[in-house]
């Protein structure tokens, strides 16, 4: 526990110091990774903590991104305080409507139904002229907070804003998962039937988790649209849902550190592989298979695997093994 806190604090300090030494390219790369980390954290609430494997999580990411693109004026910067709440509300509303239907299903059906709904959202933006169709739509200027001294169009300022949001989301989720609500989610993942027999209205808990996850995915989508200045349907395609799921598997589901670790590893390894060959997906596939084989609990399982090798006695049959 203490080691984990120290690890997180060191990581935050290193990330905070990074812009002082980084070139522009790497500054933007790490900004992108931190945004995707928020995305992966949001999916972890569903997959890692509630046991709901969603293959359509990009829909909520994309809905908020499109919300910013549609709300932003074409000739000057959008106001963060107006557009961010509206974008998050749009993602939350989409998650509420879709979630109310999908949380009634379980297992492989849940996977298929989340995918189906996400594809519907994808084709809505892809095939209609609402927001540029398959060409996408531009966000001409980065949104602004109108706080004196903070210019989000400046990459370093934007980096620190994203870092602050990542730390905030991480801290909120860490608190939520220890709270009565979070404990109930973990009980549902472990044994939903038993939770119902105890008196938990499990559908309501799962729906709440779905909306929270969708809203936080929306935050990541909003930041992506702000950073790239461009939104297209690929942002909510099933590729995107699959990629964030792979980041989570790589890092280790059911741990917040794993979600962030997996995102950093995935994007950095992707950068490295795509510098070697155009067919980097082949290498990435092999890499993920290797990690899953060696570390069934993902990279976050590394610390635990090391602890196991130490002579400290462990109870037999530890379900976490």
């Amino acid at each position: 526990m203490r080691a984990r806190v120290v690890f997180v604090l060191i990581a935050v300090v290193l990330l905070a110091a990074f812009p002082m030494v980084a070139e522009k390219f790497y500054l933007q790369l790490v900004t992108k990774i931190m945004i995707l980390s928020i995305f992966a954290l949001s999916l972890d609430v569903l997959v890692g903590y509630t046991g709901l494997v969603s293959l359509g999580h990009a829909a909520y990411f994309g809905v908020a991104a499109y919300s910013l693109a549609l709300l932003a004026p074409s000739d000057n910067a959008a106001n963060v305080w107006v557009t961010l709440p509206l974008a998050l509300a749009a993602s939350a509303a989409a998650a509420l409507v879709i979630g109310a239907l999908v949380v009634r299903t379980a297992g492989v059906y849940f996977i298929m139904v989340t995918l189906a709904f996400a594809q519907m959202v994808y084709y809505f933006f892809h095939d209609t002229r609402v927001a540029g169709g398959s060409d996408g739509i531009y966000v001409n200027e980065r949104p602004q907070t109108f706080i004196p001294g903070l210019d989000l169009a400046n990459d370093a300022h934007f980096y620190y804003a994203v870092l602050m949001l990542l730390v905030l989301v991480f801290a909120l989720l860490a608190a939520m998962l220890r709270s009565p609500f979070g404990r109930a989610l973990q009980g549902i993942k472990a044994n939903e039937r038993r939770m119902r027999a105890l008196g938990y209205a499990t559908l309501r808990y799962k729906l709440a988790a779905f909306v929270i996850a969708g809203t936080l995915a929306g935050l990541a989508g909003y930041l992506t649209a702000a950073k790239e200045g461009y939104v297209n349907p690929e942002m909510l395609a099933w590729h995107q849902s699959g990629t964030v799921l792979m980041m989570l598997i790589l890092g280790g589901m059911g741990t917040l550190i794993g979600a962030v670790l997996g995102t950093f590893t995935y994007v950095l390894v992707q950068e490295w592989f795509s510098g070697i060959t155009r067919h980097w997906q082949l290498l990435m596939g092999a890499f993920i298979i290797a990690v899953v084989l060696v570390l069934p609990q993902g990279l976050a399982g590394l610390a635990r695997a090391r602890a196991r090798r130490s002579p400290a006695p462990r109870p037999p049959g530890d379900a976490n093994e």
Partner: protein, 253 residues
């Protein structure tokens, strides 16, 4: 005798062509242990699933206190004060014994669940969980993961979790299954102590325990109630002797 807390009238449940529970009526009252016996496949667990809301009856009705709870969901019936244990141990193996009971106590909280405050800081649930574990003799095992507990201890944890939900009705599905003689004696003493403040249905194969505890006995076979009444009357009932107790005596030494 007080008014029944839980009352089933003409309850039936079909699975396709099979009538697992066939027009069963029974009632549970506070201060009374109602034992339900019968051979395997008689429909006892199905009846427990109907009473707890895990299965919906095909016909018949269930009343809980003043309310008609027929067709209610399992979680809603549980929140109305009906707790159950499972024939096959059904605990959260990766959680500590304490967290199993703390989660059970938390289930009774009304209103929105806290989202940010640490669940372990809710003292009212902690003390309920501690008390439930102490009642089942697990006070010294609180920090052990449920999956690592000995079989008898896990059976005890099932009961502790039910108690932690502060129920008025207890549905116990073979709580003694697979327990050693010492554990059995402990559970019998525990159930005796719980009798006064709960209405209890005890499904059990251990006849010594049944006759030691039961105030009323219902015998089921092939989904139907074969006989129901005071334990002495059931023991003397020739039909029951033939259908159930007799065969058991033949099999057991």
């Amino acid at each position: 005798m007080s008014e029944p807390l839980l009352r089933a009238d003409e309850l039936s449940r079909r699975f396709g062509g099979l009538v697992a529970v066939d027009r069963v009526s029974l009632s549970l009252s506070r201060g009374e242990i109602h034992a339900l016996i019968g051979p395997n496949g008689a429909g006892k667990s199905t009846l427990a699933n109907l009473l707890s809301g895990e299965l919906k009856p095909t016909s018949g009705s269930i009343r809980l206190g003043e309310s008609d709870v027929t067709g209610w969901s399992a979680d809603r019936i549980a929140r109305q004060g009906v707790a159950r244990t499972f024939q096959h141990t059904n605990v959260f193996p990766a959680f500590s014994a304490f967290e199993n009971c703390r989660l059970a106590a938390q289930a009774r909280a009304t209103g929105l669940p806290g989202m940010l405050r640490d669940a372990d800081r809710h003292e009212e649930w902690n003390s309920v969980a501690h008390a439930a574990l102490a009642a089942t003799g697990l006070a010294s095992r609180e920090t052990i993961l449920a999956g690592v507990l000995a079989h008898g201890e896990r059976r005890g944890l099932e009961i502790a979790m039910a108690l932690a939900t502060a129920p008025s009705v207890l549905l116990l599905d073979e709580p003694l299954a697979g327990m050693g003689p010492e554990d059995v004696a402990g559970v019998i003493a525990l159930l005796r102590g719980l009798r006064e403040r709960h209405a209890m249905l005890l499904i059990e194969h251990d006849m010594d325990a049944v006759f030691a505890l039961a105030d009323r006995l219902t015998v089921m076979a092939n989904g139907r109630v074969l006989a129901s009444g005071a334990p002495e009357a059931i023991r003397a009932n020739a039909e029951v002797q033939h259908a159930y107790l007799g065969t058991l005596d033949d099999v057991l030494p």
